[in-house]
Symmetry: C2
Subunit: 174 residues, 2 copies
């Protein structure tokens, strides 16, 4: 079994107490190239973790901004996390809707396929730019050597696939 939302959130909370909003932010900026999360998953998961006493909630009332809940990992939560992180890793999963469309695109006109390429290239370029932009602030906040590898992996992955995409887009158009 691979690490799911539960374990990922526990992992983030091991780095200190956070609100659901902050957890989302960390997920979107630093882990977005190998995990994706939404508020629709984060809040219900925090609720379950609290019910299982793996985290505790501290409610903070604010006047200028909405009230917030700060979650802190408990001893039991740390134990659950330690167990999860020690388990063997499972297979990486890539789901590409673009490649799926391309694979079955035989009846589509060239222009439409060209548009799919254009959109996929834009998306990937944006993701690559976000990741590279993150590097500076991430380094300041203390990026470990191991985290640096996850960053390098993401950069290599986007760079290599973008190259294939750009070359193919040209050959399609001709």
């Amino acid at each position: 079994m691979s690490m799911k939302g539960r374990e990922v959130i526990l992992g983030i909370l091991q780095g200190g107490p956070h609100t659901g909003y902050e957890i989302n932010d960390i997920l979107q900026t630093r882990l977005s190239h190998f995990f994706d999360a939404t508020f629709g998953m984060i809040y219900p998961t925090l609720k379950k973790l609290e019910a299982e006493k793996l985290v505790t909630k501290q409610q903070i009332s604010q006047t200028d901004r909405p009230n917030k809940n700060i979650y802190t990992i408990t001893k039991a939560g740390q134990a659950a996390f330690s167990k999860a992180i020690s388990e063997p890793t499972s297979d990486e999963i890539l789901k590409s809707d673009f490649l799926m469309h391309l694979y079955f695109s035989q009846d589509l006109p060239t222009e439409q396929v060209a548009l799919f390429f254009k959109e996929e290239i834009s998306r990937k370029e944006a993701k690559l730019a976000t990741l590279q932009a993150q590097l500076a602030t991430w380094l300041e906040n203390g990026m470990t050597d191991r985290q640096q590898i996850t960053f390098d992996y993401g950069i290599a992955y986007y760079t290599a696939t973008l190259e294939v995409l750009k070359k193919a887009a040209k050959s399609i158009a001709s």
Copy 2:
């Protein structure tokens, strides 16, 4: 909305009638680097597609082997597929349990992290080898130019990430 099991199976059936077993085989060999499927998904999906009259089932009795069901796409099925393939593509999703472990591995001993690397490298090398081995037979059975791109993409993806992994594995060990 991206193409799900439903649409993928319809896409495969557009290439001709197939059994669930054959659909699985195509999925495992040609699309495995960007989609994953299991029998637990394939058979229930075929049943639903039949109920919705998007495919028809022909039962074949065999003596030497288990009986089988051959599924054929209907006009309605072709229409549903055409619609799905024309829709805009959605974001690619990568889920890496290995990177997740690595990201949160600060408290794990070097040896354990080294083992994670070793296993991830083996898995990726195996996937790369399978994909390259497929090329020959795939070309014989008529691989289109567009399908060739999905193949190139997979090769580039595995090659680039393997390089990062191997380099990092060395630096970790020292």
